[in-house]
């Protein structure tokens, strides 16, 4: 297996991109990544996208996007793992390069979510749950995470304010990210008085509906040094695991088993421990998600996740800054793009290009990207060479 490096990254401003089609936002970020890497071609591409069919009525996405990128006839594949589709695309790109099938691989994630109305978007996202045994009964994604939140509060005494602190922290970070959809700060009072979506989660506990894409270029580590002058970032750990599709099938709804398993696998492959990680981009689709994720990844003791944002542990300047980019919460969450955008942020940080939100001296970064209510998770560990 060959070592794999990230040599190019691309991301544009996320938000409600009314004048851009899915293919446009994909091509824009892909070109940025290609230019950043300084390559003149790619050998193959993977694109992560959750449900272009339900959002824009387009399937056969990989071929369409390779075509519009002007890269046909390269092999192109679209992968899907709900909100972890982007993370899965990174893994597939990694495997393609590591196995020697391709040298230069474009990995992209994309989602165009605003072409449908709010209740249709809620429905489209709810298809990541067990359709016949969760979705059929009217559960939504905020609803599933709300059930985790209520259980976490009931079992561990996590407070409503602690949940709000996750949003406050991530918006504080996001305000430093010019590409974020909502680059502004919010207050605990603001979160607690925002509209209730699924008790106890309010609108400011939820990541938004976003149009956006992100792209990275992968190549063998040996080749990286000949292609770019920028600091080379190596993917040193890859973890991938699944859990029950239905939340009700888990013994404990506050434990993200797939995240724990994927984290263990990535740590083992990279030869790292949680305390070796300098910063992490994790899947804070809802405030409670970040709390459960940092527990599953071993950044904090099980049940204590609620204290992390409030105490500053996971803030910029803290022991383990989490979601320096603003996270899904402030940066936006175009579902299929998120896993790739997390890698973009870590590479920026490890290269020292993160400007006002730069984590000083960052050498080892981690991404965690999760599908559904935790039914799939991808964890990647990246290190600057």
């Amino acid at each position: 297996m060959r070592d794999v490096a990230v040599i190019g990254i691309g991301m544009t401003k996320w938000g409600e991109l009314w004048d851009k089609a899915l293919r446009d936002i994909f091509v824009e970020t892909a070109l940025l990544a290609i230019d950043d890497a300084g390559v003149d071609h790619i050998d193959s591409m993977y694109v992560g996208c959750m449900t272009s069919a339900l959002f824009v009525g387009q399937e056969h996405l990989a071929s369409q996007l390779a075509d519009y990128l002007g890269m046909g006839p390269i092999p192109a594949a679209r992968v899907e793992s709900a909100c972890a589709s982007g993370g899965l695309a990174v893994k597939q790109g990694f495997l393609e390069v590591a196995a020697g099938f391709s040298d230069i691989v474009l990995v992209s994630g994309v989602e165009k979510m605003t072409d449908v109305g709010g209740d249709q978007a809620t429905y489209a996202l709810s298809t990541a749950a067990d359709q016949e045994y969760e979705g059929f009964h009217g559960v939504t994604f905020p609803g599933l995470y709300a059930m985790m939140a209520r259980a976490h509060m009931h079992t561990y005494g996590t407070t409503r304010e602690q949940l709000a602190h996750v949003a406050v922290k991530n918006h504080r970070h996001g305000a430093l990210n010019p590409l974020a959809q909502y680059p502004f700060e919010v207050t605990v009072e603001g979160v607690l008085s925002s509209v209730m979506v699924a008790d106890p989660l309010r609108i400011l506990d939820c990541s938004p509906i976003t149009d956006g894409a992100a792209a990275v270029i992968l190549c063998p580590l040996d080749m990286a040094k000949t292609l770019t002058d920028k600091p080379v970032v190596k993917i040193t750990g890859v973890g991938h695991a699944t859990d029950t599709i239905a939340l009700h099938s888990r013994d404990d709804v506050t434990t993200l088993n797939a995240t724990a398993k994927a984290g263990e696998a990535a740590y083992q492959m990279a030869g790292k421990k949680p305390e070796d990680i300098d910063l992490a981009e994790v899947h804070d689709c809802f405030t409670i998600a970040e709390i459960c994720v940092i527990e599953a990844l071993g950044f904090i003791e099980k049940g204590k996740g609620g204290t992390a944002a409030e105490s500053g542990l996971t803030a910029l300047g803290g022991k383990i800054p989490v979601n320096a980019s603003g996270g899904l919460k402030a940066k936006g969450h175009p579902v299929g793009a998120t896993g790739v955008a997390q890698v973009v942020e870590i590479v920026k940080q490890l290269r020292g290009e993160a400007d006002k939100r730069q984590v000083e001296g960052a050498r080892v970064g981690l991404t965690q990207n999760m599908g559904g209510s935790g039914g799939s998770t991808l964890v990647h560990i990246l290190e600057v060479q």
Partner: protein, 129 residues
């Protein structure tokens, strides 16, 4: 959108809470499965208990398209008295005062109505006792 065949296929589970119980290790799956975690592939069909306890819940205020008219509605994870857990709406209650640990019973209700002229979908909901 629920189609007739998709709905019909799940009728034994939705109407009668039919589950699959592994004849080797006794683990019960709802809905029934073809293979057990223990590796066995023989199951007997059992009907689950129609009473249980609310493990966690939420109140959906922003609903998917088919449920918009019913919001706000409570939905939760219920552990039936035989230990099997499922997701169901909790109805006939004051959603503002529901609590974890609430004892519930299963009632037969309409779950979804497909458009103005489509099929009516029935199944289980829970009601506090």
């Amino acid at each position: 959108m629920v189609t007739p065949a998709r709905y019909w296929r799940e009728i034994p589970q939705r109407y009668r809470l039919e589950a699959g119980k592994c004849t080797r290790c006794g683990k019960t799956y709802f809905p029934p499965r073809l293979v057990c975690a223990c590796g066995a592939r023989e199951f007997e069909i059992v009907r689950l208990k129609d009473e249980g306890t609310l493990q966690t819940f939420t109140v959906i205020r922003v609903a998917p398209s088919q449920f918009v008219d019913e919001a706000p509605y409570a939905i939760g994870i219920v552990e039936l008295n035989d230990g099997v857990r499922l997701t169901a709406q909790v109805v006939d209650c004051d959603v503002e005062h529901l609590e974890i640990g609430q004892k519930v019973k299963v009632e037969f209700r309409r779950i979804q109505t497909v458009g103005e002229a489509g099929i009516l979908c029935y199944g289980y909901k829970c009601v506090p006792v």
